[in-house]
Structure formats: C-alpha cells, structure tokens
C-alpha cells in the first residue's frame, strides 16, 4: 500500500532521518515507535507531504508521490491521505459538521453525498449528536475522535496518526485507543501510527518499527520485538531490560558460555546470534524473566545468591532491585512474593532461553 525507500532528511544541519525504509500493506496497522527526536514524526510528515525528504522515494498505492531522483513531489493536498495531529487541529471557527465536511467540500462532492458521508463518519466515532457544536465546547477525547472522523471521511488511501493520544488524560487515552483500533478495523484503512509510548504501539499494531536517532533499530510484530530484541536500544526502550556485559568463552551446542566481568559464567542460547569465542557481548534479560528461589536451587543453571536492595509495590507486581555479585538487577515478582532486605538465602536464576545475547556497542 505504502512504500518508502531510503528517506533522508536533515533539519538544521543535523540528520533527522537517515535512510529509512518503511512498508505498509493494505489494511495493516504499523507503529513508528521511538523516543522524542528519533525522527519518527519527521518520517510521518515526509509521507504526508508536509516535509520534502532530501533523498528518497515514496509510493502510495503504486503511485510515485515523491522521488528525489526524478524530481517528483506530489503536494500533500494531492496525496489523498488522512492525518490526525497531536493537537487535534480542529478549526475553531467551524462547527463539528463543517470541520468534517471540509475535505468533502474541497473535493466538490454533491451536498447530499456530503451529508451522508459526514453522518457516516460521525457515527463511526459515535459523536453524531455533537454535529452543530464548536470544537472548544468538546472535551479533549471528543475532539480527538472528531479529528479521526475528519481524517477518514473521504476514505483516504492511508491514515497517518501523529501521537494522537499524547494530550489526553490517562483514562481517556485508553478509551480513544480502543476507538482507534476499532475504527481502523472497520474502515480497513492502512495506518501509520507515531508514538513514544510502547504500550500503545504494542496493543494497536500489526507491526512495530522502532526508531533511534534517525534510523530504524528493529521492526517486527509486537511480540517478536519484545521477546527478541536485536540490539541494546530496542531491548532497553521496548520494555525494561537488565544488561550484563561479558565475553564469550565457549561455544556449546545451541548456545554460548559467557563470562561476565566479575568472573561468573552464564550459559545462554544463541537465539540466532552468530558469534565466536573471545567476542565481547551484552546479555539482556527482562525483569519478569528471573526466577526467585528461597533456598539454593539444585540442578538449575545460571543461579546466584542475591540480596534485596529495595522494593516498590505496584499492586499487580512488585519490583525489586537486587544485588547479585557486582550487578544491580531489576527483578519483577508476583505480588504475593514478599522479600525482605534481611532475607539472606535468596537465589536468582535465569533460564537459558530467556537471555538475549546482543552485540556490545563500541564505547571508547
């Protein structure tokens, strides 16, 4: 449906987006996930036609809308794309009806058809009764749903959402999130969704594209990205990870033995990471992937005595900071597990297959 190749954009002398490629299939929901300043919004604005890439090519539904090589740049107005902005961007001088009807009037549709379409779009977001109000009379969540209605009312080829939930209260955010998903499914519209909130990206998307400093760090299905991060950034940004640096000392069948800097040997699966002995690597493990034992476990690999530093009770889980050797690790436990700082016989173990072996970033 949409394909972008090798997009490059520098802003203010800095490269904001560097050779980013992106593809969205018909009806697919793709999230661009990353911290602020990673280039995700710039990428979205280039697809929209609000920013011209320095280099690259963009095709929407087979049509070439931008190409630096061929000097083609179809203006935003001609791309037939729907977009929802962070600030809602409803025009305060128009009623809700006129806001939603605007793109249809631009397209010179007949009056009766405009009526029908607007009614359809407003029903889609369940706000038909507000058609004669002005935007400032609506709540934030309602405004955002109207913005959504305006973006889909002309059945655009592609829907772009730029952090649409960022300005909403936590509870409203949850509702609108489901609304967006439902609407996207009903309208079967290919969607690109920009966010810095990993739970939004995870819960909404068919595919997550994680960006970092202008490049794509990893892309894949939400579960795939979470379970199998391929680099330190993704492991740390999508969810939480503990990082333990070490060096591969031995290759065993299906995995490695990694010696950490304080001399412990960790046994782990390769999980597709090809390497050789002597290479410096980074071991990554999620807080929820530890197993906690109150006595020294027998016959369990990768187990070490641990001591509680402090804990944070969050209701559904308890987060502990624990000291294991020289490392401080974040460990998540179920709420019924109650550990004390005075407990001296705690042991932590890590299952081999839950440990990710990652390339260690060169830091000198």
């Amino acid at each position: 449906m949409m394909r972008a190749f090798g997009l490059v954009k520098s802003l203010g002398g800095r490269i904001a987006v560097n050779r980013v490629g992106l593809s969205v299939e018909a009806g697919q929901f793709v999230s661009l996930l990353g911290p602020s300043g990673c280039g995700k919004t710039t990428t979205l604005r280039m697809i929209a036609g609000l920013v011209a890439p320095d280099v690259g090519e963009i095709r929407i539904g087979g049509e070439l809308v931008f190409s630096s090589a061929e000097g083609i740049n179809v203006p935003a107005a001609k791309r037939n794309i729907g977009m929802v902005f962070q600030s809602y961007a409803l025009w305060p001088h128009y009623t809700i009806y006129n806001n939603v009807a605007y793109p249809l009037r631009v397209r010179r549709l007949r009056r009766a058809e405009i009526e029908d379409r607007v009614a359809w779009a407003l029903d889609l977001v369940k706000l038909g009764h507000l058609r004669d109000r002005y935007p400032d009379e609506l709540s934030g969540g309602q405004q955002q749903r109207i913005a959504l209605a305006r973006a889909v009312v002309y059945s655009p080829r592609l829907l772009l959402l730029d952090e649409p939930l960022a300005n909403l209260d936590a509870r409203v955010r949850e509702n609108v999130r489901f609304e967006i998903k439902e609407l996207q499914r009903k309208a079967k519209i290919a969607t690109v969704y920009v966010t810095h909130d990993q739970s939004e990206a995870m819960s909404l998307s068919d595919k997550v594209v994680v960006m970092d400093s202008g490049v794509i760090a990893q892309e894949g299905a939400p579960g795939e990205v979470y379970r199998h991060p391929t680099n330190e950034f993704v492991a740390g940004f999508v969810g939480t990870s503990n990082f333990i640096p070490g060096t591969i000392t031995r290759i065993v069948s299906g995995g490695y033995i990694v010696r950490t800097e304080d001399g412990a040997d960790v046994s782990c699966r390769s999980n597709g990471y090809r390497s050789d002995t002597g290479e410096d690597v980074l071991l990554s493990i999620r807080p929820e992937d530890f197993e906690i034992h109150m006595v020294r476990p027998a016959g369990v690999v990768n187990s070490w005595p641990a001591q509680v530093i402090d804990s944070a009770f969050l209701g559904n889980v308890v987060n502990y900071r624990m000291r294991v050797g020289e490392w401080t690790l974040q460990v998540q436990a179920e709420p019924h597990v109650e550990l004390q700082r005075s407990d001296t016989s705690i042991f932590l173990s890590m299952r081999e297959e839950r440990i990710r072996v990652l390339q260690r970033a060169i830091t000198t």
Partner: protein, 588 residues
C-alpha cells in the same frame, strides 16, 4: 556511524526541481510581497546613503560630510539629541518600572484600567503633548503658572527649556519601559523568589538580589526601545525645542530641508547620524536579550501572587492616578479649553470662564469653510486606511513566509521589515524625497509618496502584529487543511486568514492610529492640494494660530477614535465569542 557520514555528502534537491514545471500560486504571492517590501524599505534608504556622497551636479564627493561636521549647529544638535534621549530614558525607567510593579504585582485598585490608560501616549500625537504642555507650562501664559500666580506662589514652571523638552519627551517613553516590563514582571517564576525567602533573605534583599536581576533584560530592552523612539518625537522637538532654542537633529534636518538655501545632503547626513544611534540601540538590545535570555522567565501559567500593600494601596492608587492625570487628563483638557478660547490665557482668568465664553468659530471654520482643512481630514483618513491595509497585508505575508516556509533568506526578510524602526519619520521623509524624485520615479508632489512612506514607516509595527497573531495559530491547523486536500490558497483563505483576523484587525488599528499621528515625514512630503492633518496642525503652529491648531487636534483625535471604534469590534466578533454565546444560550 558510517552511514551517517556517507549520507551527508548526498545532494539536496534544489527548490526549482521540487516545483517541477508548474507555477504555484503561493510562490507568486510570496515573491510579489518580498519584492514590494524590499523596494519600499531598501530603495529610499539606499538613496539616503548614496545621496550624502553626491554633489548637486552628480559627482561623488566627501565634501558634504566635511561641511556637515563643521556646520555650526551640528555638534550642538548631536549633543542635545543624546542628552534628551538619555535623560528621557532614565526618567522613563524611573517612572515605568515602579509603575509596572504597582500595576503588575500589587493589589493596587483599578490595575487593569491603569494599564489601559498608560497606552494613551501611544495613541496621542507627540505634537499634541508638546502643545498641551506649552499651554500648561509656558513661563508667562502657562495655566499652571497662572494658577500658582493666583495663589501668590510665583511662576514655577517653564516648559520651553532643555529640561522641559526632556520632561515632555519622557512622558512618551514611559509606556515602552512599562509594557516591556509588566509582562515579565507577572511571569516571573514566584518559586525563584520564594526560594530566596526560604534561604533566609529579606523581602528587600529578594527584590534586589533575585527579582531585579531577573527583570534586567526586560528593563534594558524597554529602555533601549524608549531611547530609540525618542527621535520619533519630532512634534515635541519642534514645538518645544525650537522656541526654547534647543536644536535637535530632527529639527536640524527639517531646517536643512526648509530654510534657504536647502541642503539635501546635510539633511541626509544628519539622518544617517540618527540611524546610527538607533542601530546601535538595536544592536545593544539584541546583545542584552541574547546574553541574559528569558530562560528564567517562563510563559507558563504560574500563579500570580499580588503583593498586598495594606494601607499603602491607596497611596499607590493616588500615585498611579497622578500619572494618568499627567499623561492623559491634563493635556487633553487644556487642549479642549484652548480650542474654545479666542485668546491665550491671562492671569486672573478662571478655567471656567474659558468654558462660559466658549467660542466654536475655529471648529466651524475647519469643518465647514476651510477647504484645506476639509481636504486634510479626508486625505488623512483614506491615506492612512490604504497604507495601513497594505502594510498589514504585506506584513501578514512576510510573517507567513518567515514562520511557515523553508525559503532561504526568510530571516533576512524579517530583518528588512524591521529596518524602518531605525528611521525617525523626518529621516524617512528625506529618504523618500531622495528615492522617489529620482528617475524612474517622479512621485514628489503626489499623494503616493506619502502612502509609500507611511507603509515603510509602520512596516515594523505591522510585521510584529502579524507575526504575533500568526504565531498563535498552531501550524497543525494549516497542515490538516492541506492533508484534507485544500490548495494553498484555499487553506490560506479558509483557515489561516479567519483565525488570524482578530490579531490582524488589532494590528491594522495600531498601524492606522500610528499613521494618523505621523508628523515628521508628513510635513516634508505634503504638497498643496494634498494636505493632511499633521501638516494642518503643524502649519497652524508655525503661524501661531493656537486656537485653530488646538481645534484641529481635537477634530483629529475624535475622527481617529471614531474610526478605531468602528473597526475594532471586527476583531471581537470572532468564533470564540460565537461559541461562548451559543454555550450560554444552550445552558438553562
């Protein structure tokens, strides 16, 4: 890392290739506006500079600069100009900062009203203030002196001196300091002050140790702006400085242009000196703002905690009232009184006697019998309306270009729009005579030279108004219109313009008011048959027809205020009000 380095070398596509083949409406609009602005501002200024180097028969020469340096009044005029601007600025700071504190940070009664009334000097032509203070403070016939004399206290005031000139000028400079300080004064993060108090500092210690240093950039900005503006007070310089024998650069320029033998080159050189003063003030201001920044002040809505003055509230109220009385009530009262009186005031005349024997003959004459003054009313109005509309239109496009496009050189455009800030009206008048009398223009003697000059003169004001009102429109409102399929023109007309209208209307009114009070350029550029208000007033003053002059002033003020009253509601009839009205109507 390698990737990043490699991609820097990749070529950027040129603007021309992006716009393949077709001409966009927006680029036509943009380039027309840019060309017009560049011409209006740069053409006269270039001629002003060039003119000072050309002799009357067209040779390049430095002779005029040598002669100007040796001219009898030149050094005196420079000295007086600096003395008046600097002492006037000091006085403006001494009054403006405490006033801003009282109005912005204390619970003085009627703070909002005071804030509005301190705008009065902005909408009063300087010449009006000058005339009013002569009526009040003339050594013999001044009303204040007569009052004191009747009380047996002798004559205290004499406005027709250097001191009087500084006093009346500073009244005009106070609002600059006031308005640039009162905003930051309100926005100052109270926690910074509270932190100082918690650390054990006293109230006074906090004010001098924390608050004042934080406000210093704002105060300095206001002071430099006031300093720069002091040379726009041609009206005051002329009506007070000339009888007082205090030559200012502005009046010296007027003399160079009007006293035979006319010396254009000297006028140009004197104008360039004024330009240099203003430019150095701007340069200093930019440095101050850049170095100290406003980092410690934030625009976010901190709670405004007003200092409770207790019993001193009413003392503060009296102080503010006195200021309002001096800048607004007193001058306008005596002007009206004088316009109704056939003769100048004499010792023993009561103010009410003047009212009892009110004589409206000059009003009747100006409105019904005198062709020149009738023409002046209509000319002034339509010139100012056209010039203000063009100025605000150009400024709107310029602001749009600087904020919303990636056009190379867009910052230079903003800079060009602000250049006339350094040109007092009388200097711009000289520049216009140079620029628009030479080939291929022969506009001198037409009304067009006045219109073009007015537009250039108030472009900075218009640009700032347009820039601010456009800045308040979130870009996403425009982007979403484009995404909805609207062309640039449609987006501009249906989204940008309606949303910017309230701010633009206010900007138009400000520019219009500023144009109707312009004197310096007007008296150089008017021609018989093309009279304007400023000329009529100035001419009556030169001929010593005080009653006629004050009548013109009253008519001028009333007409301008009436126009503002008609136009201003357009800014309020906005969607916000409509929405609010609807909300009110729907709630029981």
């Amino acid at each position: 890392m390698l990737n990043r380095v490699a991609s820097i070398a990749l070529p950027r596509i040129a603007l021309t290739r992006r716009i393949t083949g077709q001409i966009h409406v927006e680029s036509v609009v943009f380039w027309c506006a840019i060309a017009t602005i560049a011409f209006l501002v740069l053409w006269p200024v270039l001629w002003l500079v060039a003119g000072s180097f050309y002799s009357n028969n067209g040779h390049l020469t430095l002779q005029h600069w040598r002669e100007a340096a040796a001219a009898p009044f030149m050094l005196e005029a420079i000295r007086n100009t600096l003395v008046v601007s600097i002492l006037g600025t000091v006085a403006a700071v001494a009054v403006g900062v405490p006033l801003a504190f009282l109005v912005g940070r204390t619970d003085v009664p009627g703070a909002r009203v005071f804030e509005m009334i301190s705008l009065v000097p902005f909408i009063t032509p300087p010449i009006v203030s000058g005339v009013a203070w002569i009526i009040l403070g003339d050594r013999e016939a001044g009303l204040l002196n007569i009052l004191l004399g009747d009380l047996g206290l002798g004559h205290w005031f004499n406005v027709l001196t250097l001191g009087g000139l500084i006093f009346v000028s500073s009244l005009y400079m106070v609002p600059f300091v006031f308005f640039l300080t009162v905003g930051p004064m309100r926005q100052i993060n109270l926690e910074l002050e509270e932190a100082s108090l918690v650390c054990g500092a006293s109230r006074i210690g906090t004010i001098f140790g924390v608050s004042f240093p934080l406000l210093l950039p704002a105060i300095t900005s206001g002071a430099l702006l006031a300093f720069m503006y002091s040379n726009n007070l041609f009206g005051i310089h002329a009506v007070i400085g000339r009888p007082a024998g205090v030559w200012m650069l502005t009046t010296a320029i007027y003399a160079s242009m009007n006293i035979m033998p006319v010396d254009f080159q000297r006028a140009a050189i004197q104008g360039l000196v004024l330009l240099a003063f203003a430019a150095s003030a701007i340069w200093l201001q930019a440095r101050v703002v850049r170095k100290r920044g406003y980092a410690t002040l934030t625009g976010k809505g901190f709670r405004v905690e007003r200092v409770a003055l207790g019993h001193w509230r009413w003392a503060a109220f009296a102080l503010c009232s006195f200021y309002v009385f001096v800048v607004a009530v007193l001058p306008y009262t005596v002007i009206i009184l004088r316009s109704l009186s056939r003769y100048s005031f004499q010792p023993g005349t009561s103010w009410f006697a003047a009212l009892r024997n009110a004589d409206f003959s000059e009003y009747a004459d100006a409105l019904f019998y005198n062709d020149a003054s009738q023409r002046a009313i209509t000319n002034s109005l339509w010139i100012s309306v056209i010039a203000a509309a063009v100025a605000i239109g150009l400024a709107a496009i310029a602001a749009y270009i600087t904020q919303r496009t990636e056009l190379r050189g867009r910052n230079a455009l903003a800079f060009v729009c602000m250049i006339p800030l350094t040109l007092p009206g009388v200097v711009l008048g000289v520049a216009a005579i140079f620029g628009y009398t030479t080939y291929p223009f022969a506009l001198y003697g037409t009304i067009w030279i006045i219109i073009l000059t007015y537009i250039a003169k108030d472009l900075p004001l218009a640009f700032q108004a347009a820039d601010t009102s456009l800045r308040q429109i979130h870009t996403e409102l425009e982007d979403s219109a484009r995404l909805c399929g609207a062309s640039w023109l449609r987006q501009f007309l249906t989204v940008s313009l309606p949303l910017a209208r309230p701010g633009m209307v206010v900007g138009f009114v400000m520019v219009f008011a500023s144009m109707t009070r312009e004197v310096g350029a007007s008296i150089l550029l008017f021609s018989p048959g093309n009279e304007i208000f400023a000329y009529t007033i100035f001419n009556a003053w030169e001929e010593g027809r005080w009653q006629a002059m004050t009548s013109f002033i009253v008519i001028n003020s009333v007409v301008v205020l009436a126009c503002i009253a008609v136009v201003l509601p357009l800014s309020r009839l906005s969607f916000v009000n409509v929405a609010a009205r609807r909300a009110k109507a729907s709630s029981p």
